[in-house]
């Protein structure tokens, strides 16, 4: 700790602080453009100038100077800086005047208007006019892909975009070419940036040089209603803010959540919003002959009720990737009420079973905990595309301490260096028995993490659950590496769907002789299942459902809806308040930003209404009552933002090495990152991303 005086006020700060941080600690605002907490210091905008007492007779960039760089006064008094002297005022005015020389001042047609750092700071610290009478500079716009619109004349060369893409996103494609007035932000080759995180440079750009292409000219920030909620595009539950106008979601932005996404979000999370308006199921449909025709709620519900009554307990239900806990809970109760246990929320052939300890199916070390780790082993996952922000954490940790990382699975670019340990189950077995080279490294680690992909534990060969072997061997590896300790649980299962952990938590899995998703589909094929509920379940092979009456409850007209006999239109994640439990086991809740379109209703309410029509009224009339029941049964779900830890000894019990394993390749189940769920598949923007990626890869070849 050192002492420093800021504007006459004596404060104590850690000695690694910069002057800017010190000033902030003293409650002084320092304007800035290039500095960003999570990026390296560039010190090139000069907006953060302060006066240093006894220092050189010129202002100093406070973002690039540390408090320990300051000399104490002649008698050892603490160093002193000023943020409000005439020198500082003049310096700021000067910097802004220079910046504005080449800035087009086209705020009326600029999408950044209203949330532009340059606009705000020019208002707060700048002069009222310019003395520049020459011609302004013009810069050609660059193509950075379908997500980013560039108006490069507005660029002030802060290089935040360059630093983000190189440091956080891990791609070396953007640079500052040339120098001085002719400096230009340019991609090495004019084509879409190859990262799944590029949207973040729109947020980072302090001016309107980089804006969101799909959002261009659609809204002004001050006319938007901002709803703080969470994302469901992957199993991380990143914190987002949904900006809406009227009944339309206009855009999605990240919120800061140090535990999960820091302040970034992936492109799918950010740009999926146009999918919320397309392919929507906005009224009930009933199949008449070959065609689905519009119906009203009464008609649709009555039809379903009649079918259920006839079916007895030959009823099944599969919950999809985006289902909230409440609706799964309601559906489970409904299915149970007719005497069936055919419920499932897992991918086909998943090794996870009912009554398994929570520790087995959550990401125990937590995302923030990755930073503490000193060795990471990834088994059968591609974190970059399965959980982009988790991958960002791994990269961050790797950059900070260059920790050893091993990967069993497909050799892919994860944006950091790793040792490829093999691609098949034999490599996992070698690791489990301790005969692999990497075991030595694992052994040495104090806080190792073993990340296991959901895809790996859902593998099957000859309809045998090979994934089960991978799960138990992974636990074995973790145990042998000392990752299963009371003070460090380093076993992390990485799910791919927002619904998964919540579903597992409330037991939306077949128990007491119930049929799993795959078994249900088998039964359906044989004609032994009369009615099946698909709660937004689109990721299954639904070909065999001809003989079964299919009720689709969901928001988008995707695979599931096409097979449906009745469609009951429901709300998407921005349109309802629902609990989601992320891969870490963290309980979170979405908030409603807009109302569901047309006649669509919240999922739980649909199920509740249905229950009334089959005379098995579920014991809740509103969401609050439902949650009361839910919390009574699963108390941990009421602790928003908390994680109920797994049980180490229960986890250890499952660790074992099977004598015989049938060999399979470990592959990430994500085939196309931009199209992993019904909303994304409905999105035009996502389709463009896919196209851009194909073009890029085609050009690479």
């Amino acid at each position: 700790m050192t002492q420093i005086k800021v504007d006459g006020e004596l404060i104590e700060v850690p000695d690694y602080y910069t002057l800017m941080q010190a000033a902030e600690a003293a409650g002084k605002q320092i304007p800035r453009f290039c500095f960003h907490e999570r990026l390296s210091v560039a010190g090139n905008c000069r907006m953060c100038l302060v006066e240093v007492k006894g220092g050189p007779p010129k202002p100093q960039a406070s973002c690039a100077m540390g408090v320990k760089d300051l000399r104490p006064g002649p008698n050892g008094e603490p160093a002193e800086i000023f943020t409000n002297t005439p020198m500082v005022k003049k310096a700021r005015e000067g910097v802004l005047e220079f910046l504005l020389i080449n800035h087009p001042l086209d705020c009326p047609i600029c999408d950044q208007g209203g949330e532009c750092d340059l606009q705000d700071q020019a208002m707060a610290f700048g002069l009222d006019s310019s003395r520049f009478t020459e011609n302004k500079r013009i810069v050609e716009d660059k193509y950075l892909g379908p997500l980013i619109k560039t108006i490069m004349t507005r660029c002030i060369h802060c290089t935040r975009c360059v630093r983000f893409t190189t440091e956080i996103a891990g791609i070396n494609e953007l640079g500052l070419l040339g120098r001085g007035e002719d400096a230009q932000i340019t991609p090495y080759i004019e084509r879409a940036l190859s990262s799944e995180l590029v949207g973040n440079i729109v947020d980072l750009c302090p001016v309107g040089a980089l804006t969101s292409r799909p959002y261009a000219f659609t809204a002004r920030p001050w006319e938007l209603t901002k709803t703080e909620t969470i994302d469901v595009m992957d199993a991380l539950g990143s914190a987002i803010r949904v900006d809406s106008r009227g009944c339309e979601v206009m855009r999605i932005l990240p919120r800061i959540n140090e535990d999960i996404n820091e302040e970034w979000i992936s492109d799918k999370t950010r740009y999926v919003w146009d999918g919320l308006k397309r392919q929507r199921l906005d009224r009930p449909y009933v199949r008449k002959g070959k065609k689905l025709v519009e119906a009203n709620w009464d008609e649709a519900l009555n039809l379903v009720a009649r079918k259920i009554k006839k079916a007895g307990n030959r009823v099944g239900a599969i919950a999809g990737d985006l289902a909230g806990v409440e609706e799964m809970y309601a559906l489970k109760k409904l299915i149970n009420s007719v005497g069936s246990n055919n419920i499932d929320c897992r991918p086909p052939m998943s090794a996870l079973e009912a009554n398994m300890d929570r520790g087995v199916y959550i990401f125990n070390p937590t995302i923030a905990g990755i930073e503490e780790s000193d060795c990471i082993l990834i088994i059968g996952a591609n974190p970059r595309f399965e959980a982009s922000l988790l991958n960002v954490r791994i990269r961050k940790t790797w950059r900070a301490k260059d920790l050893p990382i091993g990967l069993v699975g497909q050799r892919v670019d994860l944006t950091y260096d790793y040792t490829h340990l093999g691609e098949d189950i034999d490599s996992v077995k070698a690791l489990a028995t301790g005969s692999h080279k990497f075991n030595k490294i694992l052994k040495k680690a104090k806080k190792p993490i073993v990340i296991v992909g959901e895809g790996a534990i859902s593998l099957a060969k000859n309809s045998k659950k090979t994934g089960r072997d991978i799960l138990s061997m992974s636990l074995m590896i973790a145990n042998n590496a000392g990752a299963l300790r009371e003070d460090w649980n380093g076993f992390g299962l990485l799910h791919n769907a927002a619904a998964r952990v919540g579903g597992l938590d409330i037991g939306f899995v077949p128990d007491n002789g119930g049929a799993s998703s795959l078994e249900q589909l088998e039964l359906a094929k044989k004609g032994e299942l009369d009615i099946i509920f698909l709660l937004g379940a689109d990721e299954y092979d639904l070909q065999s459902l001809d003989k079964t009456f299919v009720v689709y409850i969901g928001s988008h007209g995707d695979v599931g809806a096409h097979h449906a006999d009745v469609i009951l239109p429901a709300a998407a994640y921005t349109e309802k308040s629902a609990i989601y439990v992320n891969s870490e086991g963290r309980v979170q809740m979405t908030k409603r930003a807009v109302f569901p379109p047309g006649e669509a209703k919240e999922d739980w309410a649909i199920i509740r209404a249905l229950s009334a029509r089959i005379d098995k009224i579920l014991p809740f009339d509103n969401l609050a009552q439902l949650r009361e029941k839910l919390y009574a049964e699963f108390p941990h779900l009421q602790n928003i933002n908390q994680i109920k830890a797994g049980n180490i000894s229960a986890m250890k019990k499952l660790a074992k090495i099977p004598a015989k394993t049938s060999n399979v390749l470990l592959r990430s189940p994500i085939k196309e990152y931009y199209l992993t769920n019904a909303i994304a598949r409905a999105s035009k923007i996502m389709a463009e991303c896919v196209k851009a990626r194909r073009e890029r890869e085609g050009a690479n070849r």
């Binding site: 070396n172 040339g178 120098r179 001085g180 340019t186 090495y188």
Partner: protein, 323 residues
């Protein structure tokens, strides 16, 4: 300066590789940097590539970047930052860099540029018809005294007139570059005054040699230099008493350097200084180019006081301690 970017694809070669010697040189160069810092070698590598092929092509940038394990965009940033890297093909025989900064501009750089525009190509960085010549305007080359200048390859051609530059260009175009001596194109040594020396003229007298401005012939430049250094050696003019040596530095106006020089001349005591005659003073004055300093600083008076009664007498007479 204008926006710097890679040349059009149509002129980019499909590949680049260093010659054997250059490759060996480059490897040595990379090895100069500590492990993990090899990327620092990118500038010398790019420069070598430019020397080899005249300009830095995309293929060359990628090759150099690969050699130091650097992302292409980072190497391109370096290549576009330094205007010394030519990003488009240059004349195969000569690329003429005209200095256009103020001193050269005042001394006629604009005429030189007009000549290039007429003789080579309308625009900077354009090749002439047969691809042998090109030109550009650059910032100060650091030879302002000899303005106006142009740089061709590693050499500068100074004190140019339009006619002389035309001759030079023709010589290069004809492949007779060897016949042109780089440096000033008028009769002078380096940037010595063009009309002969105006200062330090006495130096020649001391050595007893009458000499004119040394800018007579270029070949002898270095020799002349050496000689003028020797000229500074003084001959002993006085005979110093063997037994005694005073601290002459006590006299205000004499420091350690002067004391040494006086000692070299044979003056080591206050008494000697005090006894100096007018003619002696002149001799010293000439030998050390004092220009009346001895009188101005009252060395004789001070020396007399010190010779008579040491520091006390000095304080009595001058009212302060000698320094």
């Amino acid at each position: 300066m204008s926006v710097r970017r890679l040349a059009d694809d149509s002129v980019q070669p499909s590949s680049f590789s260093f010659t054997k010697e250059n490759l060996a040189w480059a490897k040595k160069r990379i090895a100069l940097y500590p492990k993990g810092r090899e990327q620092s070698a990118i500038i010398p590598l790019l420069m070598r590539a430019q020397e080899q092929s005249g300009w830095v092509s995309k293929a060359a940038i990628e090759k150099c970047a690969d050699m130091v394990n650097m992302p292409y965009i980072r190497a391109l940033e370096v290549a576009t930052f330094y205007t010394q890297f030519q990003l488009q093909p240059v004349g195969s025989k000569a690329h003429i860099q005209i200095c256009g900064t103020t001193p050269c501009m005042l001394r006629g750089a604009e005429d030189l540029r007009a000549l290039c525009q007429r003789k080579i190509a309308k625009k900077a960085h354009q090749l002439n018809e047969d691809g042998t010549l090109s030109w550009e305007e650059v910032e100060c080359a650091g030879a302002c005294v000899n303005a106006p200048i142009v740089t061709i390859g590693k050499d500068t051609y100074e004190d140019l007139t339009v006619e002389r530059l035309e001759e030079i260009i023709d010589a290069f175009a004809a492949g007779k570059a060897k016949e042109i001596t780089p440096g000033p194109q008028i009769d002078r040594q380096f940037s010595a005054p063009a009309n002969g020396f105006t200062s330090l003229l006495n130096l020649n007298n001391i050595s007893g040699k009458e000499k004119k401005s040394p800018a007579n012939s270029k070949g002898k430049k270095t020799k002349n230099r050496v000689k003028s250094v020797n000229e500074n050696k003084q001959a002993t003019l006085f005979s110093a008493p063997k037994d005694k040596k005073d601290d002459l530095k006590l006299i205000s106006g004499i420091g350690a350097v002067l004391e040494k020089k006086l000692n070299n001349l044979g003056i080591t005591t206050f008494a000697q200084l005090a006894a100096l005659k007018k003619a002696d003073i002149k001799k010293i004055d000439d030998a050390l180019s004092f220009k009346g300093r001895i009188e101005r600083d009252e060395w004789i008076k001070q020396a007399k006081a010190l010779a008579k009664g040491g520091v006390e007498e000095y304080i009595r007479q001058f009212g302060k301690k000698p320094v």
